[in-house]
């Protein structure tokens, strides 16, 4: 059933809130009153509840079933975390309240930092970045600040072709040119080629590890050594840190900076596109450049360093306040629930499940690289050759099987990529059912039942949507018919 837009349900002059009466009085706004119509309908509460409840039912979320979206890490979102974030002592405190009235908030930030440092094996963390890409920005800025501090800004950042789009975009944001590093046949960085590119124009190498093909860079220490030998920094995109939490520590591997996606690694909800939270850890070489503000211990308790003084090499302020407190609470709640043993077990289970899928599907789908993989299994579309079915079609057919599709066409290094990340949240029964569904679809594709794919999804709230039309003449807001 089609759900109208709120603007189509509009009735003049209604509202879904009751407001205190204040009577007549003169406004002190220098005559700058908003006299013209704004054009936002207000609907009675029953209508609003229904409208958004019905809309929600057109969504698919983790709460409904497996969500094997590779590189996105859609794991279980515990409700405890939601409850904790809503405690008035966290949810109802202002970022500019007197420091004496927010000691518990600073304690939480300090505790979260401790957990992050211990898990990553690094000496410093900046909590304030608002999301992964923002964390990258923070990390690369610290690198540039450190280089400039030694009078040596350099020009280039090296990235593998399989990198997330945010990596080159971030590099460009910091004034760097991006150069590609080739990959070897086994899906890892070609370290010889890397070494050849490493010269004194290179500011940093950005590598995702485990990488976006779902593989661990086995020569990570050699990469770090080569990067450091060239006077450059080793930035690690921590998007896939969830595969190795408790199993290996980036600090031990020679990483200089790495952001964490709290939503991917520590289960803060994705929320249909955010909010995220992207703390960045730093090595000793970079830790002086962390952004403001940060928590400082004093004799009187904890306080926030909010302003740079002359000798402070901080990169400056990245966001208006102290970052994503709501996400900090959720992440810490998740970390404490799992503990050191549970976090390690979660990584192991995520990797185990991905390998189980790889092992169970590689006879019928084409695995891009040899296993074992880490937390996600990468396939390409060679198995669909001559079937008339594309990766896109295949993905849409998965919707009809009751699943959210896997990630498709990413990473770009293989053709028609299908990146499957089951996470640690699926039971073996769920995995087996998923494998059966996928095998069934492969069989259908190979048997020539193209219509099942090209017309898919058939059992979704909507049929396949025309993205081309949307982009050709963009309609980006509701306009009342004349």
């Amino acid at each position: 059933l089609a759900e109208p837009l709120i603007f189509e349900m509009d009735r003049e002059d209604t509202t879904g809130v009751d407001v205190e009466e204040v009577g007549d009085f003169d406004l002190e706004i220098a005559g700058l009153g908003r006299d013209s119509k704004i054009g936002c309908p207000g609907l009675p509460e029953p209508d609003v509840v229904r409208h958004y409840t019905r809309l929600s039912r057109k969504n698919y979320g983790i709460d409904m079933g497996p969500f094997p979206l590779g590189s996105c890490t859609m794991k279980h979102n515990p409700r405890l975390n939601e409850k904790m974030a809503r405690l008035p002592g966290f949810g109802d405190i202002h970022p500019l309240q007197p420091i004496s009235t927010v000691q518990g908030a600073l304690e939480l930030m300090e505790t979260l930092s401790h957990w992050i440092l211990e898990l990553t094996g690094t000496p410093a963390v900046a909590l304030s970045p608002k999301a992964g890409a923002h964390g990258e920005l923070c990390g690369v800025m610290a690198i540039r600040a450190a280089l400039e501090a030694r009078g040596d800004a350099r020009e280039v950042i090296l990235c593998p072709e399989s990198a997330h789009g945010t990596n080159p975009a971030t590099a460009a944001f910091c004034g760097y040119k991006v150069k590609s590093i080739p990959a070897k046949d086994n899906g890892r960085v070609d370290i010889e080629a890397l070494k050849q590119s490493l010269d004194d124009t290179v500011a940093a190498v950005m590598v995702t590890n485990p990488n976006t093909c779902g593989l661990f860079e086995d020569e990570v220490r050699e990469i770090a050594d080569a990067v450091h030998a060239a006077g450059a920094f080793f930035y690690c995109d921590g998007a896939n840190f969830n595969a190795i939490v408790g199993k290996a520590r980036p600090g031990d591997l020679g990483v200089d900076a790495m952001h964490l996606n709290l939503h991917k690694t520590f289960s803060t909800p994705h929320g249909g596109g955010g909010p995220g939270s992207g703390p960045v850890v730093f090595s000793d070489a970079l830790k002086d450049y962390v952004p403001l503000p940060y928590v400082v211990k004093t004799a009187d308790g904890l306080t926030l360093k909010e302003h740079a003084d002359d000798k402070d090499p901080s990169m400056g302020r990245l966001v208006a306040f102290h970052g994503q407190m709501g996400m900090y609470v959720r992440a810490l709640s998740y970390m404490m629930s799992h503990g050191s043993d549970g976090l390690k077990q979660a990584s192991e289970d995520a990797v185990l499940s991905a390998n189980y899928i790889l092992a169970s599907l590689q006879d019928v789908m084409t695995a891009s690289y040899e296993g074992p993989c880490m937390h996600e299994a990468l396939f390409d579309d060679r198995f669909l050759k001559d079937t008339g079915v594309t990766t896109l079609d295949f993905a849409k057919a998965m919707i009809d099987e009751g699943y959210h599709p896997m990630t498709m066409y990413f990473p770009l290094v293989v053709h028609g990529a299908m990146l499957i990340e089951p996470t640690e949240s699926e039971s073996k029964n769920n995995l087996d059912q998923f494998i059966r569904s996928m095998r069934g679809l492969v069989e259908e594709a190979k048997s020539g039942n193209v219509a099942r794919f090209s017309g898919a999804p058939y059992f979704a709230p909507m049929g396949r949507l025309d993205e081309t039309q949307a982009a050709r003449k963009p309609v980006l807001k509701y306009e009342a018919a004349e």
């Binding site: 936002c40 809309l55 929600s56 983790i62 043993d341 849409k396």
Partner: protein, 450 residues
């Protein structure tokens, strides 16, 4: 391990299927010396124990709702209807991904489309995006966009732009080609400050950034700024840190803004110690392809039915990589949803009413404090926030009032240290402020000053 469904038996069977004998065989690519490090952290805890530990921390903070509360300066305590939180906690919204599969994400997408329409209407602009991290980063993105649009480099920030916003813009542009000029704040003379800004605009200027109401609470007519800027082919960027003001004050669009950025927290979202918040970003139709961030657009499905998709993604990093308009990926989806639900409840009528209550409370505070000898109110035109000059150090006074469980506002020196503003206090009064709270503030202040 209540979140982990695999049992010991499951794990054995799966390892067998994979053809390895132990889990660490799957981690063979990790350098052996680095595998399985000693981690010095507590083991797993029961839900009850976690709840207890975190509640203890939370109890060490003073919740805004528990005391007379006048803290603003970029984040505001408003009443958010219970319905809002109910909706955003539905698993279908909470646990969904970015809506890249529109057939099973129409809930999120239609809500974004409604959000974009609401933000455009509120700001008085043509189009709005699906949200940014917060107001300050949106402000930085606007400055960068102005350079792309104008192909000029000098950005001028007005003195009454929230200090944190100015600092964020400076940080975001430190390695770009932009040249940022930040003007001097003049809390007691907003018109002079605005005149200085207008004077500074020249042909090199890519944009001027003005906050309205300013960080000290002054409401100004920005039309002259827009005229001067446009005469020099520069863009006017207006920052709105208190979006509730748009229910009373002429919109930035009506004053000639080219880009409006804002902090949307006031509608639908709690204080949360500063985040997650909600960056608003709106502009005119002609600049849409230079916009940063996600956009949702209308289209049709295979049956010809109306539906919504993410669109114009060729601006974005996942397609465009280093040539993207921004590196932003995750935004503030759920905060935007909260905004939309709250806005759908308020509507124009409710918004205007709430705005009136805010303004009235601020007037009441102004009246109560003006009556205290030695206290000078600096504002003649304002919305829900004023700045007062105190006969003493504002930060010390705030601390003393906090000891009396009154949170009196933000000392200007916390935002502008060493700027000669030690005696200024920024005081916000929203609809959550009661008469009793105002009386408590006035009485407390008198006691502290005496």
């Amino acid at each position: 391990m209540r979140y982990l469904p695999l049992t010991g038996d499951d794990r054995s069977e799966m390892l067998k299927k994979i053809g390895v004998s132990s889990i660490d065989d799957l981690f063979k690519d990790v350098p052996a010396a680095d595998l399985n490090p000693e981690i010095d952290l507590p083991r797993h805890m029961s839900e009850m124990a976690v709840e207890r530990a975190l509640s203890k921390m939370a109890a060490r903070n003073t919740a805004a709702g528990s005391v007379p509360f006048f803290v603003g300066a970029g984040a505001y305590k408003h009443h958010v209807p219970a319905t809002v939180d109910h909706i955003i906690q539905r698993g279908e919204f909470l646990t969904a991904y970015t809506p890249y599969q529109p057939e099973i994400a129409q809930g999120t997408l239609q809500a974004i489309f409604e959000f974009q329409t609401q933000v455009a209407a509120l700001t008085g602009m043509d189009v709005a995006n699906a949200s940014m991290y917060d107001g300050s980063t949106a402000c930085g993105e606007a400055v960068l966009m102005a350079r792309r649009v104008t192909r000029k480099k000098k950005a001028i920030l007005c003195g009454s732009l929230h200090a944190h916003y100015a600092r964020v813009v400076e940080t975001m542009t430190q390695y770009t080609e932009d040249v940022v000029v930040t003007q001097q704040a003049q809390p007691a003379n907003p018109q002079a400050e605005l005149d200085a800004l207008i004077d500074a605009i020249d042909d090199e200027t890519s944009c001027v950034v003005v906050q309205n109401p300013g960080v000290f609470g002054h409401v100004l007519d920005l039309t002259p700024v827009a005229e001067k800027a446009h005469a020099h082919k520069a863009l006017l960027i207006v920052a709105v840190t208190e979006v509730m003001s748009l229910g009373m004050i002429k919109s930035p669009g009506e004053m000639g803004a080219d880009i409006v950025v804002g902090e949307g927290q006031s509608i639908g979202n709690g204080l949360m110690f500063g985040g997650p918040y909600l960056g608003l970003f709106a502009t005119n139709q002609k600049y849409v392809r230079q916009m940063p961030g996600r956009l949702c657009g209308e289209t049709v499905d295979s049956n010809g039915d109306r539906g919504f998709v993410l669109t114009l993604s060729t601006r974005e990093q996942h397609i465009r990589r280093e040539k993207a308009t921004s590196n932003i990926c995750t935004n503030s989806g759920l905060c935007a949803l909260a905004f939309t639900v709250h806005m759908s409840l308020l509507g124009e009528k409710g918004l205007r009413q709430v705005a009136r209550v805010n303004h009235k409370r601020a007037q009441d505070v102004k009246l109560a404090l003006s009556a205290i000898s030695g206290v000078e109110v600096l504002n003649s035109a304002y919305f829900n926030e004023i700045t007062v000059r105190l006969p003493g150090n504002a930060a010390d006074i705030v601390e003393k009032l906090a000891d009396k469980d009154i949170l009196a506002g933000v000392p200007a020196s916390r935002l502008y240290p060493g700027a000669g503003m030690d005696d200024l206090l920024i005081i916000a009064a929203t609809e959550t402020v009661l008469e009793d709270d105002i009386a408590a503030l006035a009485t407390g202040l008198k006691e502290v000053l005496s």
